[in-house]
């Protein structure tokens, strides 16, 4: 059962009506009622298409955060084989907001790391809603380092509201952990490919996504601050999140224009949550494409290429 977003209410109503009609006509084939139901279906599909053809930045935020959107674990389960989770930062704890381990993409062994938000109340709490603590970043550093030593490409799946703002996280060096993780990304002599599958929340995302190639799902976002946070600081009113989302230019399309995102992966009509398998397969195809682009590069070329990408950023702004 699809959970509808606020702006999808009209679609929800039409689809519910069609459902009702079908229930009415149960067992009676070929009646006018059924015909009407399928007309309603077509109407709903049209509406969905036109709504999603031009999503505002704020609506994209809502889609990117949709509770039914496929998360890191769904991608790992469907795209990879022999996934072997590796746990712990060897210092303090294992952070369940970050999952990672060895896996095969087709036959190629890789290291896959990502933020996991969870998909029900229990798992969301266990995963801390995808907000990593220092241990999460330090686990990622450890896994990236291992991949580097054994020549495995690293794939990161980014989906986090941001790093966890907690007392313990600060005391154990949240800033340092993020800084070192970004540094490790830049250091790798193996390909690093990152896909923003939902929310790319600030420093918590940068720590994973400082990659040779960054792909973003069509309705994913990547931002310096959440629209709500930005609105409360610059507009002094958290309710101005729509304006803030607009001003921040946080959509995949904006980031593609700015050169931060290298590839946009198209989502099924109505967002990834309407057809998770199709969305995940599209990401798989994009990953393989990007990996083969980098296949022949040696360690130095990969490192240099990554540096060039980031040093050159900002040489052009958005078109007026």
């Amino acid at each position: 059962m699809t959970q509808y977003l606020e702006f999808e209410k009209p679609i929800a109503e039409i689809e519910a009506k069609a459902e009702e009609l079908r229930a009415l006509a149960a067992g009676e084939e070929g009646t006018d009622v059924l015909k009407e139901a399928s007309q309603l279906d077509a109407k709903a599909a049209d509406l969905l298409k036109s709504l999603y053809a031009d999503l505002s930045p704020w609506r994209k935020c809502l889609v990117a955060r949709h509770p039914q959107r496929p998360h890191c674990k769904d991608y790992i389960d469907r795209l990879f084989t022999e996934y072997t989770p590796l746990a712990g930062d060897r210092n303090f704890a294992d952070d369940h907001a970050v999952m990672g381990g060895l896996a095969r993409l087709d036959d190629t062994p890789v290291m896959v790391i990502g933020h996991e938000k969870g998909n029900d109340t229990k798992s969301r709490i266990e995963r801390n809603f995808g907000m990593a603590r220092p241990e999460g970043y330090r686990k990622a550093i450890r896994l990236m380092d291992m991949a580097d030593r054994f020549g495995l490409p690293v794939i990161t799946l980014v989906d986090t509201p941001g790093a966890y703002p907690g007392k313990g996280a600060e005391e154990r060096g949240q800033s340092e952990a993020i800084a070192r993780s970004t540094e490790k990304c830049l250091d790798l002599g193996v390909p690093l490919i990152s896909v923003v599958i939902g929310e790319g929340g600030s420093g918590g995302a940068v720590a994973f996504a400082t990659a040779n190639r960054v792909a973003m799902l069509e309705h994913s976002i990547y931002s310096v601050i959440s629209p709500e946070g930005c609105a409360s600081i610059l507009w002094k009113d958290a309710e101005k999140m729509r304006e803030a989302a607009e001003a921040l230019r946080l959509t995949a399309q904006n980031l593609r224009e700015l050169g931060i995102c290298d590839k946009i992966v198209k989502e099924p009509l109505g967002g990834a949550h309407r057809d998770p398998a199709a969305a995940i397969d599209a990401v798989g195809k994009a990953l393989k494409g990007m990996l083969s682009e980098l296949g022949d590069s040696d360690a130095k070329a990969l490192r240099d290429g990554r540096r060039r990408k980031y040093l050159d950023l900002g040489s052009k702004g958005l078109a007026a």
Partner: protein, 317 residues
């Protein structure tokens, strides 16, 4: 007036308005309330002579206080694309920039200079909190890359003074992307075997702490400086409890293993020279204030330079 007005407001005001009342010869210490004579305070680098409280110091004054005889050469910083996102909140970003430039007399939130500290040549980058809260912009990123590039060219150490609330929201994702960019600058220094020393000053938070400000070979902080990733208010709201006394202050971080040292501003120049000289195998420094080097390249201007003309001034978008 209640205690909040008495205690919190002056602190906030002092961050922004201190320099705008030159006719006022006396400054009240934000911490202990002692009235301090302006010349005495300046001579003491804006550190209260009574209670040692470290008040804000402008970037240019910091450079002058650090280098022998106040002599330094500014390292040019490449100008980034202006207002790349055409950002506008209640005010246009270009207008905010213009205001900040007029108010501070500086181009943006970071100055880079080359000079000698106790006869120890070094590149020094100083973040200016009075310029839009020191926020990490593309210009700040360019300044750090320029500082590292110059340090590598001259085989000199880099000392960086951080002070910022985080990345500049008005540059959106491009502000955030200064995290990897500045990290690359730090890597350039490491590969060249050059010391990178960070001095964290009040306040250093957000994406700045989570990138170049936490990657120093040696991490020093000024006393009582606020240093952290998330803001205390956000943390309190998240965990639903009050934070302990001194949370996210320099001494607290020192206790939790995040810093090497907490050092008074008065002793910084000596300490930096001492550390740099040991890391680079030079003999012990001569300590104390020194005249400018024999061949000073240029005396740092005592007053901020003229505000450069705005190339984008005509833009009305």
């Amino acid at each position: 007036m209640n205690w909040i007005n008495n205690y919190v407001r002056p602190k906030i005001n002092s961050l922004f308005s201190r320099r705008e009342v030159p006719e006022n010869l006396w400054t009240k210490c934000d911490e202990c309330g002692t009235m301090l004579f302006h010349r005495e305070l300046a001579h003491n680098l804006n550190v209260c002579t009574n209670c040692d409280h470290h008040m804000p110091i402008r970037a240019r004054e910091r450079l002058a206080s650090l280098f022998d005889g106040g002599a330094f050469t500014e390292v040019p910083v490449p100008e980034p694309v202006a207002d790349p996102l055409h950002f506008r909140d209640q005010k246009k970003y270009t207008d905010r920039l213009k205001d900040a430039r007029r108010k501070t007399g500086e181009r943006d939130a970071m100055l880079v200079a080359e000079g000698e500290i106790r006869r120890t040549p070094a590149i020094v980058a100083v973040q200016d909190f009075s310029f839009m809260g020191g926020s990490m912009s593309m210009y700040v990123g360019n300044a750090i890359v320029a500082a590292a590039t110059r340090a590598v060219e001259r085989k000199l150490p880099l000392v960086l003074f951080s002070a910022a609330g985080g990345a500049r929201m008005q540059e959106g994702i491009l502000g955030l992307m200064q995290m990897p960019r500045t990290t690359i600058a730090v890597q350039m220094l490491k590969e060249a075997g050059l010391p990178y020393i960070v001095v964290l000053t009040h306040p250093t938070t957000g994406g700045v702490t989570a990138s170049y400000a936490m990657l120093g070979d040696v991490q020093i902080a000024e006393p009582n400086a606020l240093i952290g990733f998330a803001g205390a208010r956000v943390i309190e709201q998240t965990i639903g409890e009050k934070l302990p006394e001194g949370f996210q202050r320099a001494e607290y971080l020192l206790d939790h293993g995040m810093l090497d040292r907490v050092t008074s501003r008065i002793d910084l120049a000596d300490e930096l020279a001492t550390i740099i000289r040991m890391l680079t195998g030079q003999p012990a420094p001569v300590k104390g204030d020194l005249p400018p080097p024999e061949e000073p390249t240029e005396i740092g201007p005592a007053m901020p330079p003229e505000v450069p003309e705005e190339p984008e001034a005509a833009q009305t978008k």
